[in-house]
């Protein structure tokens, strides 16, 4: 089963995105549900902040597939693809020392989701992320 929705490339859409994910997911424990919502938030926020809102196609498309053993999220947008497939390590002690605000989102996504892939198409790309829940 799948559900999908289109969102404008604006941070003001992120609360609506989170609500869409929450409503689309099956009954899960509170922590797992929050993790999947957070992963979607981080990827879409990154897309909005790194080009999606400056492109001619200023929206992005989210589809969620629910399966008894796994949840798959597909996020399609036309921003510059970011290196989500590459391993990212984060040292929060260094971030504190350097007074940095950013750079945590992709690390969170990689720690939450079990599989992440990027499909490059003509003028856009699809990030496909899967989490096993059984």
């Amino acid at each position: 089963m799948s559900q999908s929705q289109r969102f404008l490339c604006s941070l003001e859409e992120i609360p609506r995105l989170r609500e869409f994910i929450r409503q689309s997911l099956p009954a899960l424990d509170e922590v797992t549900l929050n993790q999947i919502v957070l992963a979607a938030d981080e990827v879409c926020t990154n897309a909005i902040q790194h080009g999606c809102s400056r492109s001619a196609h200023s929206d992005f498309f989210v589809r969620i597939y629910t399966h008894p053993q796994k949840i798959t999220l597909e996020i399609q947008d036309s921003s510059q693809p970011f290196p989500i497939g590459n391993e990212v390590n984060v040292d929060c002690t260094e971030k504190i020392k350097n007074r940095e605000k950013g750079g945590l989102g992709l690390f969170l996504v990689q720690n939450i989701m079990d599989e992440i892939a990027i499909e490059e198409l003509d003028k856009h790309h699809i990030i496909r992320m899967c989490k096993y829940i059984a």
């Binding site: 957070l38 981080e42 929060c92 504190i96 007074r99 605000k101 950013g102 750079g103 945590l104």
Partner: protein
């Protein structure tokens, strides 16, 4: 997201309610910046009303921690729900920050300073 501020003798409590994401992080950053400009370096973050936090919200807190520390202050957290605590654990922050479960523990943390 809403932030209420309560000033105590040794510290200031920020009661953060709602969802702290990339959109609301801007407002949270302004509150932190203002408090630090006012030289309030002992901060208690009451998360009992916080329903959601993303990396942008956490980034705001991390970016002010060093200045707090350099001024011999500290940041103490309380009221984390299991899902918010899990986000801290994913980032290893539960080992870097003081997280307590009761109001009396909060006061003790600042009596030590």
């Amino acid at each position: 997201m809403e932030i209420a501020q309560v000033v105590h003798t040794n510290f200031t409590t920020l009661q953060i309610q709602g969802e702290l994401d990339a959109l609301s992080a801007v407002g949270a950053d302004e509150v932190f910046t203002r408090l630090i400009q006012q030289k309030q370096f002992n901060l208690h973050l009451d998360f009992s009303g916080l329903e959601y936090i993303s990396s942008a919200g956490i980034g705001v807190i991390l970016s002010h921690q060093d200045e707090v520390y350099q001024n011999k202050g500290k940041i103490v957290f309380s009221g984390l729900s299991p899902k918010v605590l899990n986000v801290f654990q994913l980032l290893g922050l539960h080992q870097l920050f003081k997280i307590v479960s009761s109001e009396s523990e909060v006061e003790c943390c600042f009596l030590e300073s």
